[in-house]
Structures are given as structure tokens and as C-alpha cells.
């Protein structure tokens, strides 16, 4: 399980980009396509290999005026899921 001090980054060969034809963000990985939901998109925009999970949570808590602990639970679960799928390292 990823913890809040971890610094997540996309693995080599994984690309997070906006797809004009689908009007949606996509996460492209080797022979894998992920269609992140709205919350995951906001998290992935902050995954840069520099920010720790805790600072990502801080920013989202401010941006969405939501309780920090709720955001933290969601962010950790989402990042852990993507790590299990091979898209992310932390």
C-alpha cells in the first residue's frame, strides 16, 4: 500500500494526455488504455514525480473544499490501484 509520504510518478512508457476525439483524458500504457474518472484526472494532473501524496491531497482538499481525510483515502486507493496495474511507481 502506498503511504502519504510516497512520491508517485508515471512509469516509463506511460502517458497521460487529453484525447480530443473522445473529449476525455486518457492514460496510455504499454498495450493498456485507462480511462480515468473525473477525480482520477485531477489527481493525475498533480502526479509529477516531485509532489508527495500528502501535498497532492493538500492541493485537492483546497481546490475542492473537501475534508482532507476523505480526499486522502480516495487518492491513496486510486494511486494504489494504478500501481497494481503497472501504470505508476511510488
Amino acid at each position: 500500500m502506498i503511504d502519504s509520504s510516497a512520491v508517485p510518478r508515471l512509469k516509463p512508457g506511460v502517458k497521460f494526455r487529453f484525447d480530443r476525439s473522445r473529449d476525455a483524458w486518457v492514460l496510455l500504457a504499454p498495450e493498456r488504455l485507462f480511462m480515468p474518472d473525473e477525480i482520477a484526472v485531477e489527481v493525475l494532473k498533480l502526479v509529477d514525480g516531485v509532489r508527495a501524496v500528502s501535498s497532492i491531497v493538500d492541493e485537492l482538499a483546497v481546490a475542492f473544499k473537501a475534508p482532507r481525510d476523505v480526499i486522502e483515502t480516495d487518492v491513496l486507493a486510486m494511486l494504489d490501484d494504478l500501481r497494481g496495474k503497472g501504470a505508476l511507481a511510488a
Partner: protein
């Protein structure tokens, strides 16, 4: 036939750049009759097709063959694809992937390389691929790819002749530094169908392999993705043909014929549209062959009313044709299919035997 109004764009383009290949694997799924080099699409046409694909919403490009590195213009093709915004995956045997070749591919913007292996044991691997020294070259290629920082998939095609080494095969994939391991059971299309009895694993081999993969997935979780599916003949339920015929993938043959999958060339009486004459979008939305088996308008007769119809759409059209002679029937891999006895009979015919190597007969 018109395309349904809500038809989504394909997510992937499979570009079969050439049928030429230095290996002669007996499980080759390419057609019995191969296309000549002189009939292949040229650089400009492929580049146009890649641009059309990106424009219509294709995300992944899979460059395959044959051996795509047999194309001298491969770096130019990758540059065109990458420039168009496609995620570019090179599927190669790696036997000619030296430092110079890799540097050109990296410079051109390749995103990922899938390297095929025939076994974990060099002697057996070279025998299966019909290429002396091939395994050693592949190991060197894998090391180069990983050292360059590119993500690597190690693809192992498994069958009766190598499945007993599944644990060693998985360990090799891990040792190579692959971020993804694909354990691909042979599919009996094209040349492979000739060798079906000799390639078919035993049930005991299959069960051991599935258990080994399950254990490796747990051990390597978060580090290495392992792709593995139970093969059709043992699965009881069929697989959605390429995510559904004409739903997610468009395949272009070396000469430019657009098909819903590369095995579709085996279906008789179908006239496939050519990318030399029509754009990919026109083909995807307007071609009769893409529409003819496309769900939901099409469903095999015996599948109608089945609760799994929208999961597998009646399975693989090419397998239905290969086994029953009728591409519109339910895939006999399904235990509910009226033709499932054909699969049961094929399992009974499996035996230890010589595998006939691929020969390069051309049309």
C-alpha cells in the same frame, strides 16, 4: 450497411508492415499464403494511414508483421506515427535489434517494445524459431532495450513443447527487467492450425501453467504486469473477437487491406477495403465487411438470448469459420455452442509430435 450512429472510434491500429520474417515458428498465425515484399505499402502510404488513424481517435499503434524490422524504413514509419501523436508499440523478434538499430528507433520516438521469446532454454528456443543463435540475440536485445530506458514487454508464446518450463519462463521475463510479461497460448489461426495437434498442451500442463502465473502475479504485484488468459480450447467460454468485430481495433495488412483482425484474411468471399483507395474513417464507418459481424446488429443464431452475448458477442468469427466452415456460427470454443464437440475432438487429437516449421510460401 450504415454504421450505427454511436459507433466509437477504434482505440488501436495494428499495422502489419510486412510478412517477411527471419524466424519460422510452427505456431505462426499468419496466412498460409504470404504477401511479397514488392506488394507492401510504401512509406508515404503508411504515414498517411497513421495520420488518419490519429485524426479519427486511434490511440495505440502496434507495428507488427512478420518482422517489422525487415522494413528498412521502420524509423521513418515510427517518426510518422509518433509525430501524429500515436502511442507506438514495436512488436519484434529482436534478432536484428543491435545498438545502431535501437538508437534509430529511440530517436524516432518509439514508446514501447514487445520482444518475443520462444522458450527459456536457448537450444529449444532456437529450434522452435528455426534460427540458430536467435535466443542469445533476443537476450542481448532485451538488455539493450531496458538499458535505453524504454519499457519492455517479454512475450512468450507457449504450447505443448515449452509449457513445462513455465516457471523458468516467468523467471526469465523477470530477470530481463520486463515491466510486462505476456504468456500467450498459441491461437490456431493460419499456419498454426496445421500444427494444432502437436502444439495443444495437455490439461495437466495448462493447470500447472495457470497456477504458476497466479503465483508469479502475486509475487510481482506492482512491479511486473503479467498478461495471461486461459486458451480457448480449455476455457468453456469464448473471448470477444478483438473486443468485438469492428468495435475497437482496425488491422491493416502488408498490402493495405483493412480488416477487423489479422486472421480475417482466412474468411472466404470477403472483399476487404484497401487503404490505398479509401481513408481509414471511410472504412471504419462505411465498409460492409466491418459491419457484417458487428454487434449489436449481428449475433450468431444460437447466441441470441444468451446472457453472455454482450460479454463475448459469440466469440471469434475466424475460429467459427476454421472449425465449422461458417463464420456466422457461434465460436465452438463456447461450451454452449452446438459445435463444441469439434473442440472436444481437437483436444482428444493432441499428441506429442513434430511441429512443422513455418515455410515462406508467398502468393
Amino acid at each position: 450497411m450504415n454504421a450505427p450512429a454511436n459507433l466509437a472510434a477504434p482505440i488501436a491500429l495494428i499495422a502489419e508492415l510486412t510478412h517477411r520474417c527471419p524466424l519460422s515458428c510452427g505456431y505462426c498465425s499468419n496466412p498460409l499464403e504470404l504477401e511479397r515484399a514488392s506488394a507492401e505499402l510504401d512509406t508515404a502510404t503508411w504515414s498517411r494511414v497513421f495520420a488518419e488513424a490519429a485524426d479519427m481517435g486511434v490511440l495505440h499503434l502496434h507495428l507488427t508483421g512478420g518482422e517489422p524490422m525487415s522494413r528498412r524504413d521502420l524509423p521513418l514509419l515510427i517518426r510518422a506515427a509518433s509525430g501524429a501523436g500515436l502511442y507506438t508499440n514495436l512488436i519484434t523478434s529482436g534478432v536484428t535489434l543491435d545498438d545502431n538499430a535501437l538508437a534509430k528507433l529511440v530517436e524516432a520516438g518509439v514508446d514501447h517494445v514487445q520482444l518475443s521469446f520462444q522458450d527459456s532454454l536457448a537450444g529449444s528456443a532456437d529450434r522452435i524459431g528455426g534460427y540458430r543463435g536467435g535466443h542469445a540475440r533476443k537476450l542481448a536485445a532485451a538488455a539493450r532495450i531496458v538499458a535505453s530506458g524504454l519499457p519492455l514487454t517479454a512475450n512468450f508464446v507457449v504450447h505443448r513443447g515449452n509449457l513445462d518450463r513455465i516457471a523458468d519462463i516467468l523467471a526469465l521475463g523477470e530477470d530481463l527487467g520486463a515491466s510486462r510479461i505476456e504468456i500467450a497460448h498459441v491461437q490456431y489461426h493460419g499456419w498454426a492450425m496445421l500444427n494444432r495437434a502437436a502444439l495443444m498442451p495437455t490439461l495437466a500442463q495448462l493447470e500447472a501453467a495457470t497456477a504458476a502465473v497466479t503465483a508469479a502475479r502475486a509475487r510481482l504485484a506492482g512491479r511486473v504486469v503479467i498478461d495471461y488468459v486461459v486458451p480457448d480450447y480449455f476455457a468453456a467460454r469464448p473471448k470477444a473477437c478483438m473486443g468485438g468485430w469492428g468495435q475497437r481495433i482496425i488491422n491493416v495488412s502488408p498490402t493495405g487491406l483493412a480488416m477487423p483482425c489479422h486472421a480475417a484474411a482466412s474468411l472466404p468471399d470477403l472483399v476487404f477495403p484497401s487503404v490505398r483507395e479509401r481513408s481509414l474513417t471511410e472504412i471504419w464507418t462505411g465498409s460492409n465487411v466491418f459491419a457484417m459481424f458487428r454487434a449489436p446488429a449481428f449475433a450468431p443464431e444460437s447466441c441470441r438470448g444468451c446472457e453472455r452475448l454482450e460479454i463475448d458477442w459469440g466469440g471469434c468469427r475466424c475460429q467459427a469459420h476454421a472449425l465449422t466452415g461458417d463464420a456466422a456460427r457461434a465460436d465452438p470454443a463456447c461450451a454452449l455452442s452446438p459445435d463444441h464437440g469439434l473442440v472436444v475432438a481437437a483436444l482428444a487429437e493432441a499428441r506429442a509430435d513434430e511441429v512443422v516449421p513455418r515455410r515462406m510460401a508467398v502468393s
